[in-house]
Symmetry: C5
Subunit: 349 residues, 5 copies
């Protein structure tokens, strides 16, 4: 619920971090490569990193942490990034968006991760400049990007042969693919829950159903704007995105729509499960009611009869008959048996 | 639920099959024809197939199975197909789409089949090149295409006179028509279920209702993007699709919209049936309640009366009266009869 | 539910009738007119009809029945109609659509009729060529068109002065107007049902509600595409539709939107009625519960008291008191009266 | 529900009135004005009115009643109005629309009035010609227009200085403003109903809720097309609407959207109130159930105990003990008190 | 609910205040600044204010109160503002909108404030002219603007270096940011309520849920049109908005969409909570039912047995047996224990 934090009143363009409080040192990872060379180095200081930037190579600067606004500011000044972009980077509750500036384009999006069975989200900003990609992550998570780093190191596939725009695409594609991993696990949880609700609807499963619904609401909120972001990226007229990358953007666009489709399908399934829960509960109630009614209906009439012969009237001829007692039993049994037949016919038994 | 499998982290453009594990040999069927000639041959090896491709004829290469990525790769290289297209082919959970490349156009869609009363879906990719159609199916199902093969063999209708684009259209049309067959059977199931729910709502029918709702969710997910796919195909500026085929594409577009209409209608009907179920259950509950209430209301007052005369007070004049016992019976009968009248008037009986 | 019949596997362009089985002879009615002359004649054979077609007049060929595919084929060949159009005509489950061909335009739509209080639908195809209108109906129903025939015979109004496009418009307008007649009757049924549900909710009225909902689903499915059909007709660039007819098409377009509005309003009303039903049922249940609770609450405590004095303990002083019995009655009456007051205050009585 | 009356089968362009039967004489009011002069006169005959039309002034002809088709026809012929427009005027169930003809533009819309707490609607047609405005109302209601007449008489504001298009705008603006008056009263009714449902949900308030929902459905149906009507009017290229009037049309467009917003908000509120009603009813049921359960649970066990000592076994030692009776009372009190504690802890009391 | 007040019948362009009755004197605050100078002064009279307007500086005239129509009129005349704009300013229930006039542009929007835990809304109109910004607020609230005033005074940030269009943007941005503050507090309330409903669903929490739903309906109604307003502002071709401000407008547009997203998410969450409430209530009912049924089922059969031996038949052999009484107890205990086992197996206990 804390995803609407926002600096209120701060003048537009002032750099104030608005996410959770953090104190760890921010790590900068510089990767430089071309088809033949590959350099990788970690820094905790932008000045040192700055000196190492090689003109002729694709340079990927990954910043793990956005709470050190002074650092962000330094990077922003060095690369001539618009203050509003920097502001967006340090406010970790942006909507996914793509923006075109003169010297760079920026994509901001949400990554989701699964932590102790709950879905968390983290903001990622990817700035693409001429030959340079700068990525800003909220925390050092990186699983999604490990794979890309591996391929860069090993020089496999086409990634080392392509430019910075392909790297930016690869990062976004990794984020979208990660949604699938998470959603697949989520789908398994839905299946388990469904069986639970069908067979043994408890308050806990209702709880869980509600939590999953809420998680889907948040994933949905994160993923819908990504479609538009990639759309805008495809339509961008910036020279930074080469025509050869178009076909890859079209591909990641398709993946995003598939993620959205899956989220919507899960939402449909989850809301259908509320109906199942309610009808299971109402079925159980019905069953309880039937037991109550059968018991009452069987015993109340015969209890009346035994009450009759418990009366103390002086003149009750039946009481003095030898057959009174056994006949009463017979009558009561007859009543009970015919009631049982009646329930059988009504399909209550 | 397993339809969101996806290679996570795989670099875009690397060929990894991501569907169910399969081991059967992949069969390639080559059909070549023109107005006068017809050749049909099966292969388990693309090299052999390759040699037989006749320039002057329409060539249809049907591949039954997409788990042999090496084969797909070979075909892809031979026909110069973009790596992203090959990737889409071997990941059997694509959204329906149409894509335009320089030397070919590709349509990917879902076929549905009915297996032991459950709806399954399978991916079909149709590549249309100059004079060549290549189709990739997940499994050797083929019922939908048998009819086309028959007509090609017999040379009936206009199909042998038309080009490769007409063949591609015919394949897509067969897929769409197959949706109708499945949906018609589904419609019959809905009618049966509806009667069940009206007359005898059981937990099983609720179960079935839920399953059918879920099936419609998946069919819907499969069929909606087909509309857009055919739309894009109609609007394509590729030379591979001749103007003469336009009118047929318009026709298959209409059919797709009818499939969507039918799916939406079924969804409406199914969600109306949940209401019926709930109100049937609540009607039954009401009936049970009435029986309980009538029994209780009839016997509780008279049981009280017999209790009164079961008391052991020394001074109870009624007990010694000769008319005490029969009068008590009369009073009790009067109470029961007037209650029955009351229920009659309330329409509870 | 049988409205998704479709020839599966039939090659596109093969003429196979797919509606209900029929055997009656198909009647062709030829009407020819201009401002001064009027000719009307029935045929059961197209060859005879063919000879009578007068060049200078507006010719309306009405075909009552589409199950005689040989006849349809003959007509199609004579007027040079595209095979796909003929196919659409003989498959009586088309979506309403308008299509533009070189030598003709064709409108296909659904007419609805009310038969023994149920809504049925029938397909109508109207082909407009230069000076010729050909209409294909599933059955000889014609009420909707009788009026047009009368005006043609009598030469009243502007219809005899206008061309074939006006006639085509008049036919479509008659179909749309017929929707209003049906919907008006449907509206009356809704009002009656509403009163029933408010005052005496029975299982039968729930049944009826569900049937009406389903009927609206089908009418909706029939009428929505008509809007697009007329839209396309208005936007058509065919020379067959004269500019003077535009204003009439705009009018029929407005009528179609009004039909849609009415259908949507009825759907809203009907779904509101489900809520009424459920709350009526739950109100009744509540009432039953109250009776049960009141009876139980009144008699259970006093039955306990009489039970107490039915005990057989030797040492129970009350039993020997002269006032024991009347005092017990007083206490019990006091309990019952105070409970009645309590219920009164709770507004249960 | 009677708002779908429609002449079925009437040839388009034949003038037949289709509203409620009326017999009162139709009144024509002619107002002529320019900045300096003002003339107002009533007629029951168009011929007389016709003679008085002054070329140089703005002429407003208001017709109160549309059932006298002969009169409408006469006016139509005099001003050269298209037969379809006349038809729309005399069929009082049109959808709001704006149409552009060569010599005039026409706006048709619904006015709503509140009659004995129910919302009624009435059709208004406004024809704007060069210097002339002709308005047709179903009944002589006119409250909405009185204000305009007053301002014309008194020459206040800018209305006397502006042309006929401003007058047409002023009429439409008065209609839209009247919606606000009605909706405000409706809003008050909603607030009252809401309190009722919260505190004392009765069948009557449910009834009222349903009626209000239905009224909103009809208001919504009336008001939505007005937006489009005014939109079309704004976009009209007719010379009859001067550029200076554009800003006023933009204003009335905003008002219409606000009316729609309000209607949608009321619909949201009303459907939320159904939930309140249902949960109030279910809360009450719960309360009834609790009373029943508490009473039963308190008395059934102790009634069993007194039953035990009402048995007539010869050998029951307790019966002969001196302390049997008081001890039984103690046990029963203990049971009742501990049950009361249990209920207290369960928060049932 | 009182937000649809509207002057009915008032001729368009007549200045009548239509909000709540107020009598406090309207305060005018003039702030004039450029990069070097800053002047701030309060007035209660426009004439005095008028004299102080310095040509070369950015002038911000803030008017706290719109009920003094004479003052508004004076300001309107002085700055040549269109009567319709003035009218919009004094009717405090406008929809957010942006309008372009020759000499100025005007943005009207709703600010929301949180007063004693309830959301209130207030109208703000911002007129941007060449070098001048005039803002009209309903009441002297101003918290949202205090921050801007502070920055102007202190000359921090870029605001003093930018023109009047930046100031107008800053005001709108402050309004949008304030929505976040309110919504964050609202989100906390939702979390608290959610826990309440899960654990202890009371009538009060239902009440609160309904109130929050209604508040969201109103916030939604206020915020949706703001998106369009800012859109129109971005697309405006007025020279008053400099290209340099575009990027800031894009930013505020993003914020508005985020506000809308948050409102929609809250609506989703709140409607999910109704389901939780209903299922909690139905769970509780179920629990009550079970207690009732268990008690009844346990005691009714044994009460019948004790009734049997309370009968006064002369010939009942059991009564004279020494073991009759203890055996009866054993039988009754056996019945109760087996019933308890049965309930255990049914999971009712």
């Amino acid at each position: 619920m804390n995803n609407i934090q926002h600096k209120v009143g701060a003048p537009p363009g002032t750099l104030v971090y608005s996410g959770e409080q953090r104190s760890e040192k921010v790590k900068i990872t510089l990767i430089e490569y071309n088809e033949n060379e590959f350099i990788e180095k970690d820094f905790y200081d932008f000045e040192e990193c700055e000196k190492l930037l090689n003109q002729g190579m694709v340079r990927w600067i990954n910043v793990d942490g956005i709470h050190d606004v002074a650092l962000i500011d330094k990077i922003g000044k060095h690369f001539n990034i618009h203050p509003l972009t920097l502001e967006d980077i340090v406010h970790p509750n942006q909507r996914a968006k793509f923006e075109d500036y003169d010297n760079y384009v920026v994509s901001i999006m949400k990554m989701i991760t699964l932590d102790s069975n709950e879905i968390h989200s983290e903001q990622l900003a990817v700035i693409l400049m001429d030959g340079i990609v700068i990525s800003f992550q909220e925390v050092e998570g990186g699983d999604a990007f490990d794979f890309i780093r591996d391929r860069l190191r090993q020089g496999k596939g086409r990634i080392r042969k392509m430019g910075a725009d392909y790297l930016a695409y690869a990062l976004i594609d990794a984020v979208v693919d990660f949604y699938f991993t998470i959603l697949e696990k989520f789908g398994d949880k839905i299946e388990v829950l469904e069986d639970d609700l069908m067979n043994e609807p408890t308050k806990e499963s209702l709880h869980q159903l509600h939590d999953m619904k809420r998680e889907m609401i948040f994933v949905r909120k994160a993923v819908w704007p990504m479609r538009e972001m990639i759309n805008n990226m495809q339509r961008s007229e910036s020279d930074l995105i080469k025509p050869a990358t178009d076909v890859y953007l079209r591909d990641v666009h398709d993946h995003t729509i598939r993620v959205i489709d899956t989220v919507e399908t899960y939402r449909d399934l989850l809301s259908g499960m509320m109906d199942i829960y309610l009808s299971s509960v109402s079925n159980k109630m019905n069953e309880v009611m039937k037991v109550l009614t059968i018991i009452t209906t069987l015993f109340v009439p015969v209890t009346f009869i035994v009450g009759v012969y418990g009366m103390n009237f002086e003149f009750m001829p039946e009481l003095h008959s030898k057959w009174g007692y056994p006949l009463t039993w017979l009558v009561m049994l007859a009543i009970i048996i015919s009631l049982l037949f009646y329930f059988k016919r009504k399909k209550w038994l």
